[in-house]
Amino acid sequence: MKITVRLFATFRENREKESTIETAPGTKVEDVVRTFNIPPEDVAIIMINGRGKTLKDVLSEGDVLALFPPVGGG
């Protein structure tokens, strides 16, 4: 299945900010995170299709996964 992965802030350093990847059904967020060589503990905010998720959540065909390191403002 195909999913879109969007990376933000420091995760963009030496990585594409957006990519579409082919992955097996049942793939979890943490599997994708590892694929991008991001240490899972560095991921602070995870969204799938704009909804907050965790490393253990399973992806589906066509999902947009967004990964953020700890960031804030106001």
Partner: protein, 579 residues
């Protein structure tokens, strides 16, 4: 003994006394709000002679505590008609505290059209006629240069820009920063109150000021070290804010579907990466020259969320280039160029208007057909026109609610006539409760529920669900009222929200400075007491729980992509301020 200064603009005289006993233990917002509630006639016209303006450093200002240089300005707001505390960086807070000045009150108003400069020095207060050159449309950047020449580079300043002189409801007060640029007490039109009193500016000369007395210097140093470490060790307070500024939020809110776009008709945009914090960081880095990715708004700031944004030639355009401004012009008004937004940001600082209120008013005016959507050049011209008092410029500087009325719109994003910033309450429910219930009119900084709803700092709530939001919005508003009283930058919250030792260090610093023994429960009570006096003032000014409501359109216009509406009941909303 600290001093309490009152300047009476009716008689052009001042008195300096010891601090009234009631205010001795207060600082920042706790002091300004208590004072306004005690002394300002709640039913007064904000631009009339019975309003009073008070400027106060926080409890820890002037010390070596990191990030303690914020200043509070209080008065009845010409924008909202409520009590107002507007908070700013710059150099003035540290200077006033070191000079032993607890607060500066400006009251009354003179006869005639002359504008004045209030000069505060160690040997007293003088009231002088303002130089002609800085009046009638002179921008803040030039005014600071002219006043620097007259009074010396070392002085601090608080200025009413042209918008303040013209008493516009969105006029801010600009505080000179350590580099001679400015930071703003932006919200609520307090620059218009200064202007109504014919005060063009306050010049603070700290020559001869000593150090702030510390009851237990060793304990203070120890606590300050723990506190600094808590800030620097936290990935947001220590690194994230310095690298990307607050503008990093564009992409986060866009992903979350909570980035209000096209006057609050959508929750996402496609051009997010034109205006994101990542792009700002890359642009500043690539251009070099005077640009700086990180910059502190006051001496002692170690978070450094600000920056200097430079043009293609590397020449400074603006600083303190914040997410809410960029959101308002970039997403809500659809201006797709970060450079165009930067020039407008500079112009807003220069004429002295709140960059949130103005940006929201601009987007509302676009819906109303007064300005073409996304037209940055037109907006720049209109903002610059505020300095000349041009009619359309005055309408925009009247604020969002006025623009909505002038344009005959129902979709007017305000609470208590103050423009709603940067986070859509339908898609981030916690912040909606803050907007609805804060004593200030829609204000994200009054209880920043984005933290637990979106950023997952300090709490973890589902932004689309009601669960836990009432308690969270209440706790955040109470905590914020306390932090706003310390002189601390609100962003210290990121460093201490999940770090009990860091939070304790903040309390320990206050205890060591004043030789007292506050507990965290006392700090909580301080926050509650501040909100209570603010609520009391607003009640006396005619506000009820029925004013604690979001604009009605949010109840029946769903926002994409989550297609959600604002669905808290009035009874639920009213629970927030019950404590």
């Amino acid at each position: 003994m600290m001093k309490f200064i009152r300047v009476d603009m009716t008689t052009l005289s001042s008195t300096t006394t010891d601090v009234p006993e009631k205010y001795a233990g207060l600082g920042g917002r706790a002091l300004t709000s208590n004072f306004v509630n005690d002394e300002v006639k709640a039913s007064c016209h904000p631009l009339g002679r019975n309003n009073k303006l008070i400027i106060a450093p926080g409890l820890l200002s002037g010390t070596s505590a990191p990030n303690s240089g914020r200043i509070s300005v209080g008065a009845k707001s010409p924008l909202t008609g409520t009590i107002k505390e507007s908070n700013s960086g710059g150099s003035s807070s540290q200077m006033l505290a070191k000079m032993g000045i607890k607060a500066l009150v400006i009251e009354g108003m003179p006869k005639g059209d002359k504008f004045y400069i209030i000069k505060v020095a160690m040997d007293g207060v003088t009231i002088e006629e303002a130089p002609e050159k800085i009046l009638n449309g002179c921008g803040n950047y030039d005014a600071i240069k002219i006043l620097n020449e007259k009074y010396g580079d070392h002085v601090g300043m608080a200025l009413a820009g042209p918008a303040g002189e013209y008493r516009m409801p969105s006029a801010n007060i600009s505080f000179k920063d350590p580099d001679g640029n400015m930071r703003s007490a932006g919200r609520g039109g307090l620059g218009a109150v200064l202007g109504s009193k014919k005060v063009k500016g306050i010049v603070i000369d700290p020559t001869g000021a000593g150090n702030v007395p510390i009851a237990d210097p060793e304990a203070f140093q120890a606590a300050s070290k723990v506190f600094a470490k808590a800030l620097l060790d936290h990935p947001v307070a220590g690194q994230g804010l310095a690298a990307y500024g607050t503008d990093v939020l564009v992409n986060i809110l866009n992903e979350a579907g909570g980035l209000p776009a096209h006057n609050f008709t959508a929750g996402r945009i496609d051009h997010n990466d034109n205006i994101s914090g990542e792009t700002m960081n890359a642009t500043i880095s690539e251009r070099g020259g005077e640009g700086k990715v990180s910059h502190g708004c006051h001496k002692g700031c170690i978070i450094r969320c600000s920056q200097w944004y430079a043009d293609k030639q590397g020449k400074y355009i603006t600083s303190g280039f914040e997410y809410e401004t960029i959101w308002g012009l970039g997403a809500d008004a659809g201006i797709k160029s970060l450079d165009a937004i930067a020039y407008i940001d500079r112009a807003m600082d220069d004429v002295g208007v709140d960059s949130i209120e103005t940006a929201v008013a601009v987007a509302t005016a676009m819906e109303g057909g007064l300005i073409p959507w996304g037209d940055g050049e037109a907006v720049l011209k209109i903002v610059k026109g505020i300095a000349k008092g041009e009619p359309l410029s005055r309408i925009i500087a009247g604020g969002t609610a006025i623009v909505g009325k002038v344009c005959g719109l129902y979709r007017v994003p305000v609470v208590k006539d103050q423009g709603i910033p940067a986070y859509d309450p339908r898609a981030v429910k916690g912040i909606g409760l803050t907007y609805a219930t804060t004593t200030m009119g829609a204000d994200h900084t009054a209880g920043y529920c984005i933290s637990g709803n979106i950023l997952k700092v300090g709490a973890d709530l589902d932004p689309l669900k009601k669960d836990g939001q009432i308690e969270y919005a209440r706790a955040m508003q109470i905590g914020t009222a306390a932090v706003d009283s310390t002189g601390m930058c609100l962003f210290v919250y990121f460093g201490i929200a999940d770090n009990p030792a860091g939070y304790q260090a903040l309390i320990d610093m206050i205890n060591a400075q004043y030789g007292i023994s506050l507990t965290s429960a006392d700090v909580d009570e301080l926050g509650k007491s501040v909100l209570k006096v603010e609520l009391e003032f607003n009640r006396k000014a005619g506000f009820t729980n029925l004013d604690d409501r979001l604009p009605e359109f949010m109840e029946y216009e769903p926002i994409a992509p989550h297609n959600v509406v604002w669905d808290f009941t009035p009874e639920e909303i009213d629970e927030v301020m019950k404590f």
